[in-house]
């Protein structure tokens, strides 16, 4: 989104290095993410795009041997700083994973999980409302409104992934990270999710890791191309796909490697 013709930057990463033990996985990544736009991260397997995504909500903390260096600035605040409250950070930055991972609880409880943790609802009515709006935003409400108290694991794969998206948006995050959200889904469910992503960018900044270049071209406004732990090129999706500057980008996009 542009204000007075100036791009609004939501996330600003400076000199990010990531190490798994002694092995360096990311080299000096400098990438700005525009607000209320969809940014796609593409690149061959093992290039570090998921690792970078997981830096943005500090999910790499879960991995013992992983170390992150450099600055990632969100809302004028470095999330790698010691004073950063990871709980608050993850409230602001939601995540959707490759494989749908609904909790083994009811559909309702899956959605109410985040708001409960963050104390966002004062009453049952408020919670009902949060659940309803989240499910509506995730385009799942019509399909599940009569069975909110049945297990979320009983839904189909595409429905489960939309449930996970609804779960992520239930805490009204500013940013949603999506790690190959459609790789376990069939084409119809994929189309539904892509449509949903387009809808969600009105209220959220979205960063999506994808293996499908067609998907990147369809859903994103900006694209970053990763290769062997380095950010080779980034810019508007149009430019990356039609007129890439780097030879490697061109080769990858035209399917010559990867």
């Amino acid at each position: 989104m542009k204000k007075n013709g100036v791009k609004m930057i939501k996330i600003n990463s400076k000199n990010v290095d990531v190490y798994y033990g002694k092995k360096q996985a990311l080299f000096n990544i400098n990438l700005d993410i525009e607000e209320n736009q969809v940014t796609a991260l593409i690149g061959p397997s093992g290039c570090g795009k998921s690792t970078f995504l997981r830096c943005l909500n500090r999910m790499n903390d879960v991995i013992d041997i992983c170390r992150v260096k450099g600055q990632i600035i969100i809302n004028d605040f470095d999330i790698n700083d010691k004073s950063c409250d990871v709980v608050r950070l993850r409230e602001k930055i939601g995540m959707v994973f490759q494989k749908p991972n609904p909790f083994p609880k009811t559909i309702y409880e899956n959605i109410s999980y985040g708001p409960t943790i963050h104390g966002m609802a004062q009453s049952k009515n408020e919670m009902d409302e949060i659940v309803e709006t989240s499910l509506k935003k995730a385009a799942l409400w019509e399909e599940v409104k009569d069975r909110l108290h049945e297990p979320g694991t009983g839904l189909s794969g595409g429905q489960q992934q939309r449930l996970c998206i609804a779960r992520a948006i239930s805490v009204k995050p500013e940013v949603i990270l999506m790690d190959e959200p459609c790789s376990a889904l069939d084409p119809i469910a994929t189309a539904q999710i892509e449509e949903l992503i387009d809808e969600l960018k009105k209220d959220h900044t979205i960063i999506i890791v994808t293996h499908s270049m067609a998907q990147a071209a369809r859903v994103s406004q900006n694209t970053g191309f990763f290769h062997l732990g380095e950010l080779i090129e980034h810019g508007s999706t149009d430019k990356i796909f039609k007129n890439p500057e780097n030879k490697k980008t061109q080769d990858y996009i035209t399917g010559r490697f990867g």
Binding site: R90, G94, F97, N101, F103, I117, V171
Partner: protein, 461 residues
């Protein structure tokens, strides 16, 4: 002789394996395609060599004594001997043939003993001859099959399946046998002692039912107020309850720590250390309870002005709880570890802390498995004997005071079956009735535990 024959069959089996395999290579060298890998030819021949021989061998071992006995005793038929007397004659004959007979030797028995010896030697040599000819016949048959390159893989696979089936059948039949041995004695017991008195009676003094003279008639009234099982059932559940009060919190918390908090290195050392607890024999726990924990509790109690028995339910239950910790800790650790990482990631990504994730996502997901591990722990607590015998006394007090001594079903079975006992006596049969009720209780617990665990498995598959 039997041993030599046995070893001989085994050796022949190995030899035929090599011959079978070599035959396969010969067939292969004539540029014919084998129907299976060469070792299947070997197995096929070895099976045909050993199995028919072993079948004959075991049938012989089963029927030989019966037939010899019939032949010996046929000399004594029509002489008006009773069955018992005939059996005695046969035993005397056998003893004499082994030169272990010390009584008066009559010419009849001496003749029988000689006949017995000659019959046995005939039997031995004819057994060897028959077994060897069976081996030759079946190996010849199998070798012919191999030579014509007919299928060997399917019969060998079928044979393996049959072996595995027999093994599981043996396990099941043993269980059935144990249950039946319990059932018949239990039924006899309840013929004398009414079921109602057993289940609802509150006095358990098996010592009162001293061993009865077998000539005396059985008088059920003399057992009233003797076999009331309420105190020992209460004691069993009470001690198991104390044990679980110790084992569940400690076991569960250490399981959660190991699965979720401990670093790889800590886990690597801590888990085996906890599992060592499971390997300590219960007698050793019994020492610990009787010689350390019991007196220690008594001392503390006395210093506080409480009257504590040196043998108390608390000492036995507490130590039993320590014994059960590794079961619950190890099983719940496994269950928690098997909760998919994606659920943890999902929860962390929502901003949940570690303890919130454990409480709200992992624990509910792992709950069925944890309940299963607890139920298995309970059935161990109920079945535990040695600690109770050593640390909680043998008097069946009906009490809910953990500082007094009390007794359990298993401990009472020990009390009843140690020392003088007579079969067919209600006192002895009482042990079987107790065993039967214990079996039923633990069976129910295990069924529930298995159901719960099964339900858990379905969830992720």
């Amino acid at each position: 002789m039997n041993l030599i024959l046995f070893i001989f069959i085994v050796l022949l089996g190995f030899t035929s394996y090599y011959f079978g395999r070599r035959k396969a290579y010969t067939i292969q060298s004539t540029n014919k395609r084998l129907t299976a890998l060469p070792q299947f030819y070997g197995y096929y021949l070895a099976i045909w060599c050993a199995i028919p021989a072993f079948i004959i061998f075991s049938l012989w071992a089963i029927f030989e004594p019966t037939i010899v006995k019939l032949l010996i005793l046929s000399d004594y038929s029509n002489q008006g001997y009773l069955d018992d007397e005939l059996n005695l004659i046969y035993e005397k004959t056998k003893a004499l043939s082994r030169r272990q007979f010390t009584g008066e030797i009559t010419p009849f028995i001496e003749a029988s003993a000689e006949k017995y010896l000659s019959l046995r030697s005939i039997a031995q040599s004819s057994k060897a001859v028959i077994v060897l000819s069976i081996i030759i016949a079946s190996v010849a048959y199998a070798y012919k099959k191999i030579s014509s390159n007919s299928r060997t893989r399917e019969p060998v696979e079928k044979f393996l399946k049959a072996v595995l089936f027999t093994a599981s059948l043996a396990a099941i039949l043993t269980t059935v046998g144990i249950v039946f041995s319990l059932i018949f004695q239990t039924i006899d017991f309840f013929k004398v002692i009414p079921l109602f008195d057993f289940v609802f009676g509150t006095h358990w003094y098996p010592a009162k039912a001293f061993v009865r003279d077998s000539s005396e008639a059985l008088d059920p009234t003399m057992y009233s107020d003797t076999f009331g099982a309420v105190p020992i059932f209460a004691g069993t559940f009470f001690i198991a309850f104390i044990a679980m009060c110790v084992a569940i919190p400690i076991g569960l918390m250490s399981g959660i720590y190991l699965a979720e908090y401990a670093s790889v290195k800590v886990r690597q050392y801590a888990k085996p250390l906890i599992e060592i607890l499971a390997g300590i024999p219960t007698v050793v726990y019994g020492f610990f309870a009787a010689l350390t924990v019991g007196p220690f509790l008594k001392e503390i109690g006395n210093s506080m002005g409480l009257d504590v028995s040196a043998e108390s339910a608390l000492a036995a239950g507490g130590v039993m709880g320590i014994m059960i910790i590794p079961f619950i800790s190890s099983l719940s650790d496994d269950v928690i570890t098997s909760v998919p990482q994606s659920l943890r990631d999902g929860s962390y990504a929502m901003g949940a802390t570690k303890s919130e994730t454990i409480k709200k996502v992992i624990f509910p997901a792992a709950l069925p498995g944890i309940v299963g591990s607890i139920l298995l722990g309970v059935s161990r607590a109920i079945g535990e004997t040695m600690i109770v015998v050593m640390a909680s006394g043998l008097a069946a007090n009906l009490t809910l005071n953990p500082l007094e001594s009390t007794s359990t079903i298993t401990a009472q079975i020990v009390v009843i079956l140690i020392g003088d006992q007579a079969f067919g006596d209600p006192k002895t049969q009482a042990a079987f009735a107790l065993g039967m009720s214990l079996f039923l209780v633990t069976l129910c617990l295990n069924i529930v535990a298995l159901r719960v665990v099964k339900k858990y498995r379905e969830k992720y598959e």
